[in-house]
Each structure stands twice: as C-alpha cells, then as structure tokens.
C-alpha cells in the first residue's frame, strides 16, 4: 500500500517537489559521494604509511613504490582529488538542485563525468607511485591526467549554470553565490596552473608562485566555498532557524571573492621572490579576517540557544564542528602569513598541523555532515546505526584535534630550536619524534572513524537496515518516489 503524505495542499506539493528533485540527483550524487568515500579509505591508508615512516623510516623501506617521496604525494592527491573534490561536487549538485527548485540536469552525463574523474585519480596515483609524478605540490599527477579533471569540471560548471538559469526560486540564497563562484573558479585555476607549469610558460621562481597560487586557491576558492555554502544551508535548515545576519553572509561571500585570490604567495615567505609579491600575500591573508569573522558570527549566532541539538542531530554535530574549525584554521592561517610568524613556523610540523585543521577539521567534517543529511534523502533509507555515527564523529574529532594541536605545538618549538644555531639538529629530531608518534595514533583514530563511516554508507546503500520512515526523513512516510515523479510530470505538463 502506498502512503501518500497528508496535510495541506501547499505543504504536500512542496514535499513532492523536494522528493522529485532529490530523486533526479540520486544516481550522479551517489556516484560522486560513494567514490569519494572509497578514496577516503585509500587516502587514509596512504596517510598511515607516510606517517609511520616518519618515526620508523625502515617501515616498508624495501618497496620503491611506497617510499616516502611517492606515498606522501599520493596521500595528498588522493585526499584532494579523490575525497575532497568528489565529495564537494556531490554536495554541490544536490544543494544547487534543491536551492534552485529544479531537477538535476543531465544525470547520465554527470554520472559519466564522475567515472572519468575516478579514472583520472587512478591513473594519476599509479603514475606517482611508479615515480612519474612531478614535485609540484597539488599538481603531482602527470600532465596527461589533466583532461580527466578539466572536462568534468567544465561539465559540472555547465550543469550548475543551467540549474541557476532555469531556477524556479525567486531569490539567490547565499549558498548559491558560493556554489556558482566555486564552479567558475576551479576550471580557471586548474587549466591555468597546468598550462603554466607543464608547458614551460613559467619556470623557476615564477613556477613556484604559480604552484602556490593554485595550491592555496584550490583550497580557498574551490573546496572552501562549497563547504561554507553547505554549512550556510545545513545549519539553518537542521535547526529550523534562519541565518542570524543575511547581510553579513553576503559580505562574507564578496570579501572572500575579492581577497582570497591574493593570499597564496604567503606560502613562499622567506623565498627568493620579489618582496612585494609576498607582501601582497600577507595583506590578502590579513583581509581574510573579514569573511572569516562574518561566517564565525553568523554560524555561532544561528546556533545560539540551540546547541543542545548537537546531541540529537548527526548532521549538525559534524557541520558545527567543521564551522568552528573554519574559524580556528582561518585565524591561524592569516596569522601564519606574517613574516614574524613564518620565521618560526616555516619548514616545521606546524604547517602540516594547520593544513590538516583546515582540510580535515573544517572541510571534511562539513562534508561528513552533508553526507549524513543527503544520503537518507536520495536513497530513501535511514542510517542503520547511531553508534557507528558516534564512532565516526568522536574518532574524527578527537583524531584531528590531537593531530592539529600536537603538530602545531611541536612545530612551534621545532622552529624555535631551529632558529638557535647552538642546538644540534639531531636533538630537534629527537624532540619531535614523540609528536610524530602521536600523529600516527591520531591518524589511526581518524582511519577507524572512516571505516565506521564507510560501513554506514555500505549499509545504507545495500539496504542492510531498510527503514523508509526514520527520523532523518522527518515524520512522514515516503512512498516509492517513482509515483511522485509521475505525478510531478503530469502537473508540469498541465502547467505548460
């Protein structure tokens, strides 16, 4: 028997419309998301091998494919291209369809592009493991991998623009600004960086500038906007409270768009660059306080008075944690750009700690939150176990906190000691060794969390615990959505 949602006609139409939109994004979003979860596991494995090698250099030392110089870039590239980008694109497609109130266009094409992207990550990772990677951070994959990412990025951009141009919602919600901008920025960043670095357009110092212009902006103008957009949707949506200050949210977007692009050269402070290029990076980094503070105020004030909801909502727990870490990592990053700060922290474990606080503590946690919200709605199924979700949360949260705090602490003192010529280098190495072991333990915690998450995903996909009317699907039972799609089609035909 089919259970049709009851209630006022307007409410019912809105629910049907939402279900139909979710159904339209089902296959492509599931492909982007499940691929990202699989890459997260491979990325974790590469991370553990890399980390163990730092305090046990002989570990797997006889296998040239797994030497530190290869496995560490593979970790970075799998986590960036495999996990981060694929999770971000999945969230982007679902979110934009919902906010535009339109069905996701070209589902077959977008599914195909996910497979193309996967091929790119496989080919690139094997190439780097085989020793064919470049030494350009974030662009280690050989040049022949570029089409595997550039073409899908253009396809995602086209789908995003099409949704926006055909939207049936009147207003452009703040998240949509971020999503549109991110999809415009990515192809420009990636294609420009690849052309410059691999076709000899820039060399030497200029190549390093291009490298960090891309590396920094790939985080700040691609994955960051998508995570902030997701948080701007999920926190109000889950709590049932509109954003505290919509003005601030718009100010945050436009200041990010204007200032972030300038910050990349702070990665090269102390390097043989013209001083003004570094000063531009420092100024850009300082200006980033504006968008970060707007987001921090907005998310905190939206949550004020309802923090108890963190106990009852997995989505909110991950997303609010990620938003808090956005503030922490961004403040830290801006201060880190200062020359006086860099004198101590450059070339130390501090930078590694900061990078993980940003990409994991902020971005990945928000993506986990998004997946906990989206998976039930596109699979029409409930998560199987609250315990698994809690293992995931605490493993990830405690893991990244101990990782970030441990490495930043160790890095600071490592830098202070390195600036003192009377301290032997070996003594500094001995000093940071316990912190490197802590890094591996923290990484193990996060890996366990990822396994718990992957198990949850496997169960929800395999319908191991099939419940159509669970709490995350609200209070109404949802019938097979094919009936809703047919009903919506008939309504649209009549309207035409």
């Amino acid at each position: 028997m089919t259970h049709v949602p009851e209630g006022p006609a307007e409410s019912r139409l809105e629910q049907i419309s939402r279900i139909v939109i979710d159904a339209s994004s089902r296959v492509p979003v599931l492909l982007w998301f499940t691929s990202s979860v699989i890459w997260l596991l491979f990325g974790s494995l590469a991370a553990m091998i890399s980390s163990l090698k730092l305090h046990h250099p002989d570990f797997l030392g006889g296998i040239e494919w797994l030497t530190f110089g290869r496995i560490r870039p593979v970790h970075l590239d799998i986590v960036f291209f495999g996990w981060s980008c694929m999770a971000a694109i999945g969230a982007l497609l679902w979110l934009q369809a919902r906010l535009c109130h339109v069905r996701l266009p070209w589902p077959v094409l977008l599914s195909g592009l996910a497979m193309v992207w996967n091929v790119g990550v496989v080919v690139g990772s094997v190439a780097v493991l085989a020793g064919h990677g470049s030494s350009i951070e974030y662009l280690e994959f050989p040049a022949y991998c570029a089409p595997f990412f550039a073409i899908p990025a253009l396809g995602v951009l086209a789908a995003n623009v099409k949704m926006y141009l055909t939207k049936s919602s009147e207003h452009t919600y703040v998240s949509q600004w971020y999503l549109l901008a991110a999809t415009v920025w990515l192809p420009i960043l990636y294609v420009t960086a690849m052309l410059c670095t691999y076709f000899g357009l820039v060399q030497g110092v200029s190549q390093a500038i291009t490298n960090w212009w891309f590396g920094h902006n790939a985080l700040g103008l691609w994955v960051t906007p998508i995570a902030v957009a997701t948080a701007y949707y999920l926190i109000p949506k889950v709590t049932g409270r509109p954003v505290h200050s919509y003005h601030l949210s718009l100010l945050g977007f436009w200041t990010l768009a204007i200032f972030y692009n300038w910050a990349g050269t702070h990665h090269l402070t102390g390097g043989p660059l013209p001083a003004w290029t570094i000063t531009v990076g420092v100024v850009g980094s300082m200006m980033m306080f504006i968008p970060v503070i707007t987001v921090a105020i907005n998310h905190h004030m939206t949550m004020r008075g309802v923090f108890s909801m963190l106990k009852t909502s997995p989505t909110l727990r991950f997303t609010v944690f990620g938003s808090f870490m956005y503030t922490v990592a961004s403040f830290q990053g801006s201060l880190e750009a200062l020359r006086s700060h860099q004198e101590i922290t450059h070339f130390t474990q501090y930078t590694i700690g900061h990078a993980h606080l940003g990409l994991y503590g902020f971005f990945s946690m928000i993506m986990f939150g998004a997946m906990y919200y989206i998976f039930p709605r596109i699979t029409n199924n409930e998560w199987s176990s609250a315990r698994l979700i809690k293992v995931h949360f605490w493993g990830s949260a405690l893991g990244i906190l101990s990782y970030g705090i441990g490495l930043c602490w160790a890095g600071w003192w490592q830098g202070t000691m390195m600036n003192n010529p009377s301290i032997p280098f070996l003594q500094i190495v001995e000093y940071i060794k316990p912190y490197l072991i802590l890094r591996s333990i923290s990484g193990a915690g996060m890996t366990i969390a990822h396994l718990a998450f992957a198990l949850s995903v496997w169960r929800i996909l395999s319908r191991h615990h099939f419940v159509m009317s669970g709490p995350t699907l609200f209070t109404t039972q949802r019938p097979p959505w094919r009936e809703f799609v047919n009903e919506q089609n008939q309504r649209e035909e009549i309207a035409q």
Partner: protein
C-alpha cells in the same frame, strides 16, 4: 607560448569583468534588498522555521532535548 599567455590573461580579465558584472546585476535585481526574506527562502510549509529536520536514527523526532 604567446597564444597561451594571451588566453590566460584574457581569462583573468574575463573573470574580473564577470565578477563586477555579477555584483552589479545582483544589486539591480534586488538580491540584497530584503535580507530577512532571503534568509527564510530555504524554509517552506513542509519544512518550516522552528522545525528540526535531522536526528540520530535512535531518536524520535518529537523528543527534543
């Protein structure tokens, strides 16, 4: 090489022009005129303001903490 340089500079210029155009377009369209309505645009009758929409599997929607 020259062609690639020109393409990159043209793209950068296009990006800057597009950003300024998008901002002025949004202002003219009134996107920033009614922030209260904008903030509430993600809610509707089925998922209204004031209703929590996500729970752990073990928690019943009615049981707010």
């Amino acid at each position: 090489m020259f062609l690639i340089s020109m393409i990159i500079w043209a793209t950068a210029l296009l990006g800057a022009v597009m950003t300024v155009w998008a901002l002025s377009w949004a202002v003219k369209r009134g996107e920033f005129r009614n922030p209260r309505q904008g903030a509430a645009s993600i809610f509707d009758a089925e998922e209204p303001i004031g209703r929590q929409t996500d729970f752990f599997p073990s928690i019943r929607p009615g049981a707010r903490s």
